[in-house]
């Protein structure tokens, strides 16, 4: 019997496996940030323990940081204290910190891959649920709580039971204007926000294979939004090309050895999965969410479901969600006026996302009723965007390019969507209050977000692309 990709990587990292106990899994790199680490460092102090492998621990400040004037001290006192605490803790425990002002600073799930720290076959954890992003490289990567952050700091290992394995295949040709974000929003809408719970999900099929690394990261990033433990995609030439030459990628002989190993990382033809799902790329429209969890998504031309279409016990929660969103049964989102557009987050803030948006908005201008924030995923993404002149295109379109951080994805810093306002957001969660108290989020792709910013209403990107074809 063949093995799945997931099992190959898992087995290569088991330090100890005992009947009745979770496995002790070795962690190659532990990413930490300011919000979920301070209590873990305190725990180490109480126990009188050092960080066991500080060189395999990478820190950055991202959740709390302002996205303008990063060269100035952080104004908000509690945020500043938390970021200062991270600096102090990293110094005390000998951990490399890519803090504010450092050329490598950025959202933890953007910098790991762009620095070549995230590689095929590795194990990665972080006190952040979107750690699943790193699985795009054919790695096992998942989010952990602070007690587990402390555990990994103390031992470089994690106690973990092996999850079940699911394969999700997407095959066929995507419609024009439909991308990775639409694929994952579509899958989650099909299987619900809990449909992947208990599983490690491997994405496969020719549509997935045709995606860039950025697209694959967007897909794996949102695995947690269907409850999955992690998401992963077998490495191939696209993966190897992406990692090659990056700051911390292996070099010379080490590189050749690594690539030879990476080429063994795929699910064997006779590997068995606990669950296999298949979707057709042609069925996927540009997607948008209408509710308060990421499973509540529809094609942009479709209507919000009727309350009566749900089971009786689900209707209360459904009505609550629609009420929060200020929507009603059977409403069409297309054409609905919006107030904000947020392009950013660990889901969609990489250079490819920014290039795609810039190409689309070049020569256009945002609608007067919309405020647009473009927040790059990292300092490196920001600098690259500036080198390519994307900032000028954005400025001319009324899409100011800010400085890197998690920003309005979770509204921990000042970037909050005001109460009652609608935001088309490229981030990953539309939970109540996620982007600020009583804010209302429509999750969508960068292209849908950009098109909606131009028109001021929820827009079908395909309408623009038709025009372009006609002109062209």
């Amino acid at each position: 019997m063949g093995q799945t990709l997931f099992d190959k990587i898992w087995d290569a990292h088991v330090v100890s496996s005992n009947e009745g106990f979770p496995d002790i899994l070795y962690i190659d790199t532990h990413f930490i940030h300011e919000v979920t680490s301070p209590q873990a460092f305190d725990g180490l102090r109480t126990r009188g323990l050092p960080v066991f492998r500080p060189k395999q621990t990478v820190a950055t400040a991202d959740h709390n940081v302002p996205t303008i004037d990063q060269h100035l001290p952080i104004k908000e006192e509690l945020s500043r204290y938390q970021v200062d605490m991270l600096t102090k803790n990293c110094k005390e425990f000998g951990i490399e910190l890519y803090g504010l002002g450092h050329p490598f600073q950025g959202i933890v799930h953007v910098i790991g891959p762009e620095l070549g720290i995230t590689r095929p076959g590795g194990t990665y954890v972080c006190g952040d649920s979107h750690t699943s992003t790193h699985g795009a490289f054919g790695a096992i990567a998942f989010g952990i709580g602070t007690s587990q952050v402390e555990q990994v700091m103390a031992t470089q290992c994690l106690l973990q039971s092996r999850p079940k394995r699911m394969k999700i295949e997407v095959n066929g040709k995507l419609q024009n204007g439909v991308g990775a974000k639409d694929i994952i929003l579509y899958i989650i809408a099909q299987i619900s926000a809990a449909g992947g719970t208990g599983y490690a999900v491997e994405y496969a099929g020719d549509t997935i294979r045709s995606l860039s690394m950025e697209g694959r990261m967007t897909i794996c990033n949102m695995s947690i939004e269907m409850g999955a433990r992690c998401g992963l995609i077998a490495p191939d030439e696209t993966t190897i090309e992406y990692v090659k030459g990056r700051e911390f990628a292996p070099k010379g002989e080490e590189w050749d050895k690594a690539v030879a190993y990476w080429k063994t990382l795929y699910s064997d033809a006779d590997a068995s999965f606990d669950e296999v799902l298949s979707f057709k790329a042609e069925d996927i429209e540009p997607m948008i969410t209408y509710g308060t969890n990421p499973g509540m998504g529809i094609g942009v031309t479709q209507h919000v479901p009727e309350t009566a279409s749900f089971e009786a016990k689900e209707q209360g929660s459904y009505k609550k969600a629609l009420e929060y969103m200020g929507l009603h049964d059977d409403e069409q989102l297309l054409g609905k006026p919006i107030d904000y557009v947020f392009i950013g987050s660990c889901t969609n803030s990489r250079i490819e996302d920014l290039r795609q948006v810039a190409e689309f908005v070049k020569g256009k201008h945002k609608a007067d009723n919309v405020t647009v924030w473009v927040v790059p995923g990292s300092k490196q993404v920001q600098e690259q965007a500036i080198r390519e002149g994307l900032d000028k295109i954005f400025d001319a379109a009324g899409f100011p390019l800010r400085e890197p951080g998690c920003s309005a994805c979770l509204g921990m810093n000042e970037d909050k969507i005001p109460a009652g306002k609608y935001c088309v957001s490229t981030s990953n969660r539309n939970f109540e209050g996620r982007q600020g108290p009583n804010s209302r989020t429509f999750l969508a792709s960068p292209l849908t977000a950009a098109a909606s910013a131009i028109t001021g209403v929820v827009t079908d990107i395909r309408e623009f692309l038709k025009e372009k074809e006609l002109v062209g």
Partner: protein, 196 residues
């Protein structure tokens, strides 16, 4: 390092029959700026519990004096979303010892178990029965026994067994801690590193 011990409780319950309660509802991100584990209970379900001027919302269950107890009972897929352990801290800090639901998100479940807060997964049917019992009598008592792995509605005697990882059960009933366990295998970790 010893952690809180949980073996058995018998108490009235607080019903929250909403599905997909995410950790942003349990503790909104703007309250994650503390650097200690204490005090998060004050902001548990903050935006459901208080209005924009910090006045309690009378229709939210935690503001209803008729309901109290050490068990929170909630709709399916409880604790989805962010990995923030602050959600488990907030629930425990508020005074709950257990959460009952028909389905839990993975990361939340792990976080709860690491903090002496027992997640008890019951069938849809049993969850409905608990809600019916507490809405019929807000003082309805529920018993949870971790040692024998059962949950019981005391008045009617209806009960169900529940699953728990045997290792985590041993930790919770004895106050053991994951780090102590892994540290006891430190030589194996070093051997693993050398073999790579």
């Amino acid at each position: 390092m010893a952690t809180k011990i949980f073996k058995h409780i018998q108490t009235s319950v607080v019903p929250l029959p909403i599905e997909n309660i995410d950790t942003d509802q349990i503790i909104p991100a703007r309250f994650l700026k503390a650097t200690t584990r204490e005090g998060f209970g004050n902001n548990l379900f903050r935006d459901w519990r208080f209005d924009g001027d910090d006045n309690p919302k009378p229709d939210f269950v935690l503001n209803n004096p008729n309901f109290s107890g050490k068990i929170l009972v909630a709709g399916k897929n409880f604790g989805c979303g962010s990995s923030r352990e602050h959600a488990a801290w907030a629930i425990a800090d508020y005074g709950f010892d257990a959460v009952v639901s028909s389905f839990f998100a993975d990361i939340f479940k792990g976080n709860a178990l690491n903090n002496g807060l027992l997640p008890v997964q019951v069938s849809d049917d049993f969850l409905k029965k608990i809600f019916e019992a507490v809405y019929a009598d807000e003082h309805a008592v529920v018993e949870i026994d971790l040692v024998d792995q059962f949950i019981k509605i005391v008045a009617t005697g209806e009960q169900e067994t529940f699953e728990v990882n045997p290792y985590k059960k041993a930790c919770m009933t004895n106050g053991y801690d994951d780090i102590d366990y892994i540290l006891s295998k430190k030589e194996l970790i070093k051997e693993f590193e050398e073999s790579k």
